[in-house]
Symmetry: C2
């Protein structure tokens, strides 16, 4: 959201234990890094440079100090990585661990990029990984938390190697790496609408479509899955866990924290931005998101597997 | 805290039910107004004008909608009163009501007033009510929540009148009214250190004394209690409740949200700022706060009653 002076943008998220993170699934450093990443991704999606963070931390008095230290280290590290600094906060006692994050960003004199600026004819493009976080979540749910579980569940070949697929997916889920610098970059390139992909590409672009009054069609030919995503999706199927194909995960998987934007037609996009679709005047169905010209639905899309 | 660009200041507080507020003691509008007041008072104490608020709200799914609506109304009303606007936030489900508030303020081109700028010879002054909130808290603890309780506990004479003392103290506790505009005003007058009195005047000025490396002496002759405070202190004594005299409440009572500041010697203070003491080079005791030249202690100060 833009603060009234139009120079600073700000965003806030609340994370509650066992609703937004699990201590059994993520280290405190992971929780800290992800908390910052999802907020600074929001800042970047407005076209701003992350600058400052305020952290509210509510925790039971018997929480191990090492957990709080780990969280702080994760917050600090991701903040430094994104180019910001922790400038304040509050610590209180409570029954449940709750982390409140406010992130501030600097627009560098430009207006904030919002969700309502897409126009018919715009190019829809994305930067950053898609789908891996969703596979990571399903791996955690299937009990694959680390190398031991992977060996047991997947066998030596699938579990091993320098950077096995399951490890890449867990990493994207635990420590997403939003392409922070691409937010201001896209704004300078003229992006008319932008957001970070947190609830799934189709759902989030639905916000852009409705706010902008355009229809958006995505082209699955342009959605080329990461090899690790393909492999992890196959592994999950072998485990009898969630049956979602790699392209379906790219379209509907949450917590990617990639950036998606609408650019004016003819914008010369740098290689890190992949064109994945286009905006048009809304048809009979209204301001909706379609995939290859057909209604986009998350469940039962077997043809995407 | 100052954001890195030095134009915007930001502050965050977490409020947890039954630790920072009680639904039995305060209406949801009260909770909302106080949550904003304590954060915007922090903003004002840095010499900034309150501009924007972000609100994180965690609540059980079975919380009555009317409570959430009341909270929102209180947040909105105090925000408007202070001159700011709610610009964003987050709502999540949780077992305990938790309100996270981030407040932003505009320094108007001035540097932020901090706690470490007081110098020997400075005048210590205060604006806003002191002690009434503390009496309000003790009245609530003694079961005086409204007119019925007041009549029962205090008798007709003490309870009645247009604005009885107990009502004034409850109001200051439930809905503190920080003198927002006096923060930037004090900055323009040259205030070298400032804070809002949230933990009690002596304790908070202790932060200024230590951060600035000065000793601060307060003059009780300048601490003239509000008549409502005198009356409420007497009522509390009659009730057999907390035995703290009015001046002791002014020195040690919390949640006043008055502003206290150090001004250079010779500053012409407007009438709303009362001179209550002075700063000096630290003596043998170091950077401490004294009252009438004697060590300041909260307990057992019967001579202040």
């Amino acid at each position: 959201m833009t603060a009234p002076d139009n120079r600073v943008v700000a965003t806030m998220d609340l994370l509650v234990e066992d609703r937004h993170f699990r201590r059994a699934w993520s280290s405190p450093e992971d929780v800290g890094r992800k908390a910052v990443a999802q907020n600074f991704a929001d800042i970047a999606a407005m076209g701003a440079r992350p600058t400052a963070l305020l952290v509210g931390f509510a925790a039971p008095r018997d929480l191990p100090l090492s957990w709080a230290d780990g969280l702080t280290e994760g917050l600090r590290a991701e903040c430094a990585h994104a180019g910001g600094a922790v400038v304040g906060g509050d610590t209180v006692a409570a029954d449940t661990i709750t982390v409140a994050i406010t992130a501030l960003g600097d627009l560098g004199g430009r207006p904030a990029v919002r969700r309502d600026g897409a126009r018919p004819g715009d190019v829809i493009a994305v930067t950053g990984p898609l789908g891996l976080s969703s596979a990571g979540y399903d791996l955690l749910e299937a009990g694959v938390l680390g190398p031991e579980d992977a060996r047991r569940a997947l066998g030596g070949a699938a579990a091993g190697g320098a950077d096995p697929a399951w490890a890449a997916c867990l990493r994207e889920h635990r420590r997403p790496r939003p392409p922070y610098a691409e937010g201001p970059h896209a704004a300078r390139l003229g992006a008319r609408a932008m957001l970070d992909v947190s609830d799934g590409l189709v759902q989030d672009l639905g916000h852009v479509a409705r706010a902008s009054g355009v229809a958006i069609d995505l082209d699955t030919a342009a959605l080329v899955p990461d090899p690790a995503l393909e492999e992890a999706a196959a592994l999950l199927e072998r485990l009898g866990a969630a049956r979602r194909g790699p392209v379906e995960r790219m379209l509907f998987g949450g917590e990617d924290h990639a950036l998606a934007a609408a650019f004016p037609p003819g914008t010369e996009l740098p290689p890190q931005w992949r064109r994945i679709g286009s905006a048009a005047a809304p048809g009979a169905d209204g301001a909706v998101v379609t995939v290859d010209g057909r209604p986009a639905r998350a469940r039962g899309w077997d043809h995407f597997r």
